[in-house]
Amino acid sequence: MDFTLSKKHEMARQLFKDFAENEVKPLAQEIDEEHRFPRETVEKMAKAGFMGIPVPKELGGQGCDPLTYAMCVEELSKVCGTTGVIVSAHTSLCVDPIQTFGTDAQKAKYLPDLCSGKKLGAFGLTEPGAGTDAQGQQTKAVFDEATNEWVLNGSKCFITNGKEADVYVIIAVTGKIEKRGRVQKEISAFLVEKGTPGFTFGTKENKMGICASSTYELIFTDCRIPADAILGAKGKGFGIAMHTLDGGRIGIAAQALGLAEGALETTINYVKERKQFGRSIAQFQNTQFQLADMATKVEAAKLLVYKAAMKKAQYQQDHKTSYSVEAAMAKLCAAEVAMEVTTKCVQLHGGYGYIKEYDVERMMRDAKITEIYEGTSEVQRMVISANLLK
């Protein structure tokens, strides 16, 4: 087993690091305070090829692997959790399902523009009554044979890249099916474009963290989309959603990892400079032991995240391979490490850690969501234990 990164990955990491330092970090505090989506950064990321990293070149992507993509989200999140999730939601939740389940025509229509960053993607599964219980979907899609269209009605909430996206993967109920003697909802996935009549935006969420991320409610009122806007086969939506979230978890795990690393790096610099009782607080054993514990946990999280990304690369070669458990473990671990590390980093900063001018304050707020979205930590435990007890 070789834990050394290849030359390609080392170079890619340096690229992401330089970009994050030069283009993302200077804006991080400002966009957080103003709750402003960093459109200018997205344009720069598009130019630098960050919006289609794990997609083959023939589909318009960069032809890199999931590990490179995870490192991109990680490095961006080290300095700005919002910028990390913009790339993650776009790539994992919109580009990936189109690449995996789309028809050739759908791939040709959407992937070049999404991968070049000309268009931004989003994904709508969550509803007010359907969070962890994804089967509780209320949004309906009814096929109108007269016009050969699907008619969408309902709403989605907490949608990342909500109002800024151009292409949305939307999950909706298309009927009922009987499974093992029980009647269940038949769920399908659809591709909906911004500007489609009947598709509007509701309230913008006022969040604790990732404040510059555009989180909106999506509303569908007799929204008509063409018959060929269905993604995958009718009734395959739940599987598509679960597959999409498996991949998404690697992105969020990478975001959490980046937040933890960023907070730790910032704190290491701070404790060397901050003096109390006539010496730097880095000289106190409490500080030293806390740093050691945090660094160890961050490294463990990193190995899980990278392993999940590499397992996903194996899946891309052979679809019989599953990376679901690895992704769940990576997200569970990285998210909880991010919350613990950022909280401890605020504590090591003392009063200054509670002040908005200090990056760790933002990082702690940003870290919390990684334990919640794209499957709460509890859902990850369900996925992992289900695999143990099957």
């Binding site: 030359k7 390609k8 890619a12 690229l15 090829g49 990293i53 070149k57 960069q62 890199c64």
Partner: protein, 261 residues
């Protein structure tokens, strides 16, 4: 159209400068970057490529690890990389370096050669003009802007109190300033391709019309007596005058003491 860009891997001075016991730079121990003026020259070439479809080849001379800087350039968009490396070429000063690079360029096709104005490690600004001289090419130095017009280039050349607009027929050589542009980032896909790409390696035997007396340490007329890191300035002296007049007097006295006024 074929463009050759000469680039150099230089120490990243942000990481601190380290010396060998003999006073020469300990390059192995220092982080490296693409020389900023060279990067601007590469970006200028890549912009011409974007507009005209020109082929861009990057050339560097150095240790085998200098291939890294070629891969970086290729990850930004250069098509080919050429590494000139050979033990007998080591220790070269500007004369031996330009002789060597010109010897390699004689075997390559080009319409335009772009080099940086100067490298941040040596700061001589000699290699570009010397290459042009060896190859008997017109040269425009200190380029702030480069445009291709038919078979010519139109260059805005920085000058002390203004600028010159110069036009030269290709083939010619231009030396670029880092102010010329803001260089693009590598792309992730570009990195993957660059790492898989073949880099052409040239040695002493591949150099054309080059005499042994003009290469390497032995062919270098420059002898370095001593090299040192920059000397730190003193902490200065602090005054806390009570009035503006008093402050002005302190400044005037200090300037008089140093014979500045």
């Amino acid at each position: 159209m074929k463009i050759v860009v000469c680039i150099k891997q230089v120490p990243d001075t942000k990481g601190g400068v380290q010396f060998n016991p003999d006073g020469t730079l300990n390059r192995a121990a220092m982080l490296t970057i693409m020389n900023p003026d060279d990067k601007a020259g590469l970006e200028a070439a890549l912009r011409i490529k974007d507009q005209t479809g020109a082929e861009v080849t990057v050339v560097t001379m150095g240790l085998p690890k200098a291939a890294d800087v070629l891969r970086e350039a290729m990850a930004m968009g250069a098509d080919k990389g050429v590494l000139i490396t050979d033990r007998v070429l080591g220790g070269a000063d500007t004369w031996a370096t330009s002789t060597t690079i010109a010897g390699a360029l004689r075997g390559m096709e080009y319409d335009l050669i772009i080099t940086g104005r100067q490298a941040i490690d040596g700061d001589t600004a000699q290699v570009g003009p010397q290459i042009a001289e060896h190859l008997n090419l017109p040269i425009i130095s200190y380029a702030e802007d480069i445009k291709v017009e038919g078979d010519s280039v139109v260059v805005k050349r920085q000058y002390e109190d203004g600028f010159h607009m110069l036009k030269a027929k290709m083939p010619c050589l231009i030396t670029a300033l880092s102010e010329l542009n803001e260089a693009r980032y590598m792309t992730p896909g570009g990195i993957f391709d660059a790492c898989d790409a073949e880099i052409t390696t040239l040695g002493r035997a591949d150099l054309i019309d080059v005499d042994d007396s003009n290469i390497g340490l032995m062919g270098s007329p420059t002898k370095i007596a001593r090299a040192s890191d920059k000397v730190r300035k003193g902490a200065g002296e602090k005054f806390t005058p009570d009035t503006a007049d008093e402050a002005a007097k302190i400044i005037v006295d200090a300037l008089k003491t140093k014979h500045i006024i």
